[in-house]
Symmetry: D2
Subunit: 351 residues, 4 copies
């Protein structure tokens, strides 16, 4: 994103910011494009939110933190929305209990889109008159915040459609059958220990919990050269993975028994084969793809079975660049971030 | 409703049945007319259902019990709807857990309305070729079943809109300010004891749990000449009704304390006055109207406070005709049936 | 129990009352005799109470309702016990939440027994000086109340020992192997309809909910000549009783599925045979005995399977005398009362 | 504890081990000495265990991991205890659900003490014949395991007695009134950053999660010279600490509101003063003592209020020696370990 340097930045810079703003904001609307107003109402569990709520809440952010305090004479689009679409900022004065987000049929989707348009127009108007460094900082924060919610929209709608017995596809028009090519052979990558810089470096945006830049010490370790594949996970299952108490943490085993776990979330057996719920509906499981939507408990049990253990987060950071180059076979965005931090890397050991 | 007498009834009779059918079915659509597709998705608690589910489930009834078994060559509109819109008839093979009715964005409202139209057309087609007594019996049952769900649509949407912090009105266009006239003075009506016939008599429709006709013995009693008014209930509240343990059943008192009850459901204090959530939004409480939406626990506590007790159901039956003549001041349908069986009739005593 | 006639009754009458008092009170202690202080601490579910609590609470009754208001100069044994051993009389000022009764290691069992002795002595002292009709009425109520809790002691300790994986026997010394004789053949007893007097008649003690004496009308009916046997219930199970949704109420079927019910409470399969947890530990199931510890849902499903239905309570009253004469084969007190009101009487029909 | 060097260690070494064993084992019995059999039954919440369970489970450890596999001809004291007193080692074949530990009146306390004596005798017998390095390693592990449970016995009985409305004292005989002297003034201790060795060093016992020895990097920081006092925490409360949403994490604030938190666990207001539940019953709060039994949420809110933040665990390790020298004013063991890792150190900052 563009650099911010002076109190009132030049118009060319502001134009770039507005382009960026429009791009992020329209990407959100692109994501909900395949969804009906009814689809955008669904809250399938307390931890998920309806798509309509996401598009309202991300708008609330710009109104609450930029327009209201920084635009002279700005009047909120609707006096109740400040309460309705606050997520959890208690100091702003409360919000509906998060479990009832799925019951908010009013405001309607149309009203929420008018709210978006109103706020977008006001942001344009504000920036056309110049903007302080603080406003640009908040704008950048708001856009990154909105991108987080874009991920949640996909994650949440996937779960919403999974709960529906009809198992509709979120993007059914985009189906593309991919040949199940083999994953590359697994190798071990060695990393030397040593002092390592962690946290965000100074250039570009960072959330506050990515700062400050600091040192950590990483002990020498080896890590798998790629993510665990569905095929490898199926081998764990075939070897009784879900019925051998000794592979699981004690708490995890209680979960397995109480919830009758026999496979990862979104997997379903169809005859002898396995299928997987995706954004394009139920599809055959591709054995070459990375295993996805496993919980920490499952990843941990898999790693124990494989004679390895899960990498620490700090090591994941150290070898993230490596993985980035090997992710060309990952085609679906939902759950990927989770996967990269939770997947079991078989055979990882410390020196 | 028309009488059914021979195996294949005459066309004039069938015409009357179809008129009846069309009238009940269109009344359901009239009820959801003020609601958006989003409104028809809301399930505000496990015991309530979304309006869309109601209009689908009542259609499912006609398809499942009439068209599929009795219309030759009938193919279900959608093979999955038999499961989706079954309420709790386990012998028909399962249904979604009732708590997830509010997540079913698919089928869409449009699809559900096509489903209704398809079934309506098929019912017309079936009856145009004549109908057996059994089909007409099921038709009558289905229409009464649909009328039950019409009551639920109103009850459920009222609660759905109450949960929404915006408190929208279900029928906002129909607001009509009514003068708060005084209720008639309360008198005591005496009933002699004796053998009393109970259950439905032979003419017209009855649900199976209203049969068979049988005798009961009613001991002599007195009952109030009208329902308890909001004004009388306010007197109970002003006298510490919700803070005096001795007025409540032990279980009830636990409920009062754990849930912080201080007034009936849908009541809200506005300054010194009370308002009440209605199908037309929040309105001032009319002191002359019957108190509404009180739980059994509250009715029982009120009756104890008033030195009376709640009437047995069988006595309510005995004096229902009486009350019917005094209900001219009742203007809102939701919750009325509940009220008539739960309201405290002060001073009722057995001889 | 003795009659009470004048304000200050004669000493011979009071002696009889004291004998009665001593008999009931010592019967309670007899019931807990086989139990260690630890056994008397167990609360295996919120609806059950520890034996120690029962023996304290029954004592609390006499102290609270007789000694404190009616004995001049009486000082409570312990000022905190009024709160600790109140069950649910809110107007007396609160009580511990019923779910924590099992955590009250203090007062100790020894202290509770001293409490009993203190109250017993005081009751003797009070009655030696004469007693008003009101005191005798309360004494009679207290003794009947204590007998109710005697039943609960047995019911609750049975459940407490069932939850313990060791399945200890409550009265292990009293084991007596009974020959599994056949139950008498089932016949149908016809009862004419008509007006029937219900509620307690004037002589002897009655709880307030057994009054007043009133008329009811019973329609003519037939009822089975004896209770359903274990053998008959086993036939229901062998015929797939627990896996056929059509035999169960819809709510009941949800219970069956969610809790994995396959047999009545306290039954356990041992190889091909069934055993039953009793007050003397696990014993072979006697096919000739009445089935016991079935829930309403199970009794209802059994009755439907048998082509019959459950008797109304009022009919049970009508034929109670009949059953009393056929209960000679019932050897265990726990759960019997429940059984008699819930057991399915196959083939009962109304005329 | 003594060093273990050869396969069959010398008798003087074994004697030292047995002394150590006897000392730890008898310390456990000393801890339960003030408790009646009933007290040792109480489980006041799912995360706590009855004292009787602790003394049985620690015995189970020695039987399961030492006697059964390593002592020829050893027969378990009771075949069911292996299941009954397993805590969560699933691979050993299951255990009772942890929520029912408080219902296990059988085995009795007497039987559990016989179990202890039997295992103690067998351990003595085993070691008198020499012991392998593996047996001594397990013995050391078992003794450390038992010391962990000694802490839990005190923690759990404190909570058990707190739940009891009588609030009994665990060690009432040991009351000693301490003058409320002032805490030393708070200063800031600076620590340089750098590579730091973490994990247990090679000599002496360590649990497996304290290994292996590894390097970490600690950034420079300052930390308070002593723990937060009750007086400082009272200032936070007086300044509206529990009613200012902005001081709390969002989740924390939900907890505060839903549970009505207004003070730390075990605190109770008595008029204008505060009292605190201790192992000697309710005592006046000593303002000079470290605040105790605050949750992470409370510690975090306090730190935010104080303009500081909570120390990372690794920094706590770094300055543990420092604190150890300043703990002379800590007089009560329960909760101390928790305190040291959770207490807010006002003003700690990273360089």
């Amino acid at each position: 994103m563009p650099e911010t340097s002076s109190r009132h930045t030049e118009s060319s810079l502001l134009r770039k910011w507005l382009e960026q703003y429009d791009e992020v904001r329209s990407q959100t609307l692109n994501l909900v494009e395949p969804l009906s107003p009814e689809d955008q109402m669904v809250q399938s569990m307390p931890d998920a939110s309806p798509a309509k709520w996401h598009i309202a809440h991300t708008t609330w952010f710009f109104e609450t933190f930029i327009l209201t305090p920084h635009m002279e004479g700005y009047a909120p689009f609707n006096a109740r929305f400040g309460f309705l679409f606050n997520s959890y900022y208690k100091r702003l004065g409360g919000h509906p209990h998060r479990t009832i987000r799925g019951t908010l049929s009013r405001p309607t989707l149309d009203q929420v889109r008018l709210y978006r348009a109103h706020v977008d127009n006001s942001i344009h108007e504000l920036l056309h008159c110049g903007a302080s460094v603080e406003v640009l900082r908040l704008l950048e924060l708001g856009l990154n915040h909105e991108q987080q919610h874009q991920e949640l929209i996909v994650t949440d709608i996937k779960h919403a459609f999974w709960v529906n017995p009809l198992r509709p596809g979120y993007q059914p028009g985009q189906v593309r059958i991919v040949e199940a090519s083999a994953a590359p052979p697994l190798a071990w990558c060695c990393f030397d220990g040593g002092i390592h810089e962690s946290g965000h470096d100074s250039c570009g945006f960072a959330f506050d919990n990515e700062l400050p830049r600091h040192y950590t010490y990483i002990n020498p370790f080896r890590i798998a050269s790629r993510l665990v594949t569905n095929k490898e996970y199926l081998a764990f299952m075939a070897d009784g993975g879900y019925s051998r108490a000794e592979l699981w943490l004690s708490d995890a085993w209680d979960h397995v028994c109480e919830n009758g776990w026999t496979a990862p979330l979104y997997w379903e057996q169809a005859g002898n084969d396995w299928t997987q719920f995706t954004c394009r509906g139920m599809l055959p499981l591709n054995p070459a793809e990375p295993v996805c939507h496993v919980s920490f408990y499952e990843a941990d049990a898999f790693a124990r079975w494989a004679g390895a253990r899960l990498p620490h987060r700090v090591r994941m950071g150290g070898c993230r660049r490596f993985h980035r180059e090997h992710r060309q076979n990952i085609r679906e965005s939902a759950g990927k971030r989770k996967l990269s931090s939770q997947a079991a890397c078989p055979g990882s050991t410390t020196g």
